[in-house]
């Protein structure tokens, strides 16, 4: 295969790729590593949340009795309460409502009140905040690690996503002419530079579709609020849209009990599994959260539908998996491709691996930048690295493995902290470890600047394993988490051992050739 690209364009895009990559690479590392973990946000939250002490959930047919007692004792819950179909993990009770006002957003919500009935039919409630550990890692992912207010972090993320898209196109273009020659020539044991370059190219080209999806969807996620503002300013609103909310003035209606709602949903949307039924506005409105592994889901873990509470009739199928109008189902695919919310667990595992592969791609890209720059500087007669080379040489491992170690520290603390981790305990922990790793990379001698943060990340990651199985009753989820932590921790330790050996200096052994990706 011969693909010709003009040499001036090739040179231009090579330069562009290397600079845009170095600008965005470290932020993207955080986004991809935290995003990979977030593929299992819900099971992690289930594992991390300390369950309240409550009687066993009542049957679905007795749930109306539970609701009646709960509303009598807590009239404020009428504004919105949820019936959970299979209580477990972070949703341990049949009935729950939020007393923090509104639904939880971005992992920082108020507390949840869980309600149950004891053997004598008396109401028992437990109030506790949900674990914020998994939510913290998700926000870290969304905000590319920036500890800033959401409104400020998101546009910055958007610019990084645009740079990422630019790095993808330029990198692909630079790699294309040598595609056939380099595709299957992975040499992990030669010069450090050749190994990083081969790995970078291989990861890049084989996960290119995934990266294109991530770049484009992230631009949308970053700027969707601004885009809708522009739409409001530039498109005409039909007068019908200004009508008041129909439910606002209507008298309270008798909402159907959960089992009747379920029966009605099963008739209208066979095969859809209902996870929870939200009774909203004193029973005037209703929303169901559902999942269906046969179809793409609009949200990270679920699809939605609004339902008439008095009849159980589905009012909007726009986000109901398998029932959507064709246009909406196409739009949903875009979201699902980012969230990996299609095809169930196998796709989530694949996305976890692709996410980790992405993080490795960016780490390798930064290493290549340093090695190529150092070589050019040596060729120009410099004896010492320039400031930029030195900075990135140390910042890259400190930042990247600080992120890995910080996430592991958060997972270590998740089941141990009081109140399931209220306030900013996880943020303090993550940025503490992160800062320590960066500092470590800068204070140790140069040959240890990669090894030291690697060991730190390895030890913290390995520590997740015993905590996973000891801090909570053993479950398959806890065992899988422990296994993953052992595997990753051992991998980091292996990298650390290898990193101890000095980088192979450039000698005549290696035929000098142009650096392709850096």
């Amino acid at each position: 295969m011969k693909i010709r690209v003009r040499s001036d364009i090739l040179h231009l895009y090579r330069e562009l790729h290397s600079w845009v990559g170095i600008l965005a690479g470290l932020f993207l590392f955080v986004a991809f590593y935290a995003g990979a973990i977030s593929m299992f946000e819900q099971p992690l939250q289930d594992w991390a949340t300390r369950p309240p002490v409550l009687p066993a959930p009542v049957s679905l047919s007795r749930t109306p009795e539970l609701i009646e007692r709960a509303l009598a004792a807590h009239p404020e819950a009428a504004a919105g309460y949820s019936v959970i179909l299979t209580p477990a993990g972070a949703h341990p009770a049949r009935l729950e409502w939020s007393d923090g006002g509104g639904r939880h957003h971005h992992g920082r919500g108020g507390a949840t009140v869980f309600a149950a009935l004891d053997d004598h039919g008396a109401l028992v409630t437990a109030r506790q905040p949900a674990s914020t550990a998994a939510g913290f890692i998700d926000v870290l992912h969304q905000q590319i690690g920036l500890p800033l207010p959401h409104d400020i972090a998101m546009p910055i993320m958007g610019v990084i996503a645009l740079l990422y898209a630019t790095a993808l196109t330029s990198g692909t273009l630079v790699f294309l002419p040598t595609l056939a020659r380099n595709l299957f020539s992975l040499k992990l044991f030669g010069s450090a530079q050749k190994a990083w370059l081969d790995l970078h190219n291989l990861l890049g080209i084989f996960s290119l579709p995934f990266h294109i999806v991530m770049a484009v969807t992230s631009v949308v996620f970053a700027f969707h609020e601004q885009v809708f503002v522009v739409q409001h300013l530039t498109l005409s609103t039909p007068p019908a849209m200004h009508r008041p909310h129909p439910a606002a003035g209507a008298p309270p209606v008798a909402a159907l009990p959960p089992d009747a709602i379920l029966a009605a949903i099963a008739r209208q949307a066979p095969g859809v599994a209902v996870d929870s039924i939200d009774y909203l506005q004193s029973g005037r409105a209703m929303r169901i959260s559902v999942h269906d592994p046969r179809y793409s889901l609009r949200g990270p873990t679920s699809g939605f539908a609004t339902v008439d509470p008095s009849t159980g009739r589905i009012l909007s199928r726009d986000y109901l998996p398998g029932q959507q109008p064709r246009g909406m189902s196409v739009i949903t695919v875009f979201f699902a491709l980012h969230f990996g919310s299609f095809g169930g667990t196998p796709v989530r595992v694949l996305y976890l691996l692709l996410g980790l592969g992405g993080a490795a791609l960016f780490y390798g890209g930064n290493r290549l930048w340093v090695v190529a720059r150092r070589r050019r500087e040596q060729r120009d007669g410099r004896v010492r690295d320039s400031l930029g080379t030195r900075l990135l040489d140390r910042l890259t491992p400190g930042w990247s493995f600080g992120c890995v170690g910080g996430c592991s520290a958060v997972l270590c603390a998740a089941p141990l902290v009081a109140d399931n981790g209220s306030g900013s305990v996880f943020a303090a922990l993550f940025y503490g470890v992160f800062t320590a790793a960066v500092a470590l990379a800068f204070v140790v001698p140069q040959r240890l600047s990669e090894q030291a943060p690697l060991w730190l990340a390895s030890v913290l990651t390995l520590a997740v394993a015993p905590i996973a199985v000891l801090a909570r009753p053993v479950s398959s989820g806890a065992l899988l988490l422990a296994g993953a932590a052992l595997l990753l921790g051992a991998g980091l330790a292996a990298l650390a051992r290898r990193s101890g050996r000095r980088e192979v200096p450039l000698t005549s052994r290696h035929r000098p050739r142009p650096v392709q990706a850096a």
């Binding site: 645009l162 631009v219 530039t234 498109l235 005409s236 246009g327």
Partner: protein, 101 residues
């Protein structure tokens, strides 16, 4: 741009061209969204397919502008051509809006 000419595109100065692409890319992609939304009479409500599809249109256009803008020979050219294209698109939106009103 580069078609048919033999003079090479300079590498130096790519950052100013990229900045031009970043900013005009926003104007061009949002303008295209507004124009198409007007032409198809889309409703600015996030709950509608039209508004959602228009939102998804913005990202690929912006990304494409970012990738292509460095191919201009200078930042000035990038500003003139991409800025001109943005102005045209917004002018088109204004004309369609005036006709509809």
């Amino acid at each position: 741009m580069s078609a048919g000419t033999a003079t090479p595109i300079p590498t130096a100065g790519w950052s100013a061209r990229l900045l031009a692409g970043l900013l005009t890319g926003a104007a061009l992609s949002l303008g295209t969204m507004a124009l198409i939304g007007r032409l198809l009479d889309c409703v600015p409500s996030p709950q509608t397919v039209g508004a959602q599809a228009l939102m998804w249109l913005v990202a690929p256009i912006w990304c494409a502008v970012m990738a292509a803008c460095v191919l201009f020979r200078s930042a000035a050219r990038a500003w003139i051509v991409l800025g001109g294209a943005s102005a045209l698109v917004w002018l088109g939106w204004w004309v369609v809006q005036e006709i509809a009103a």
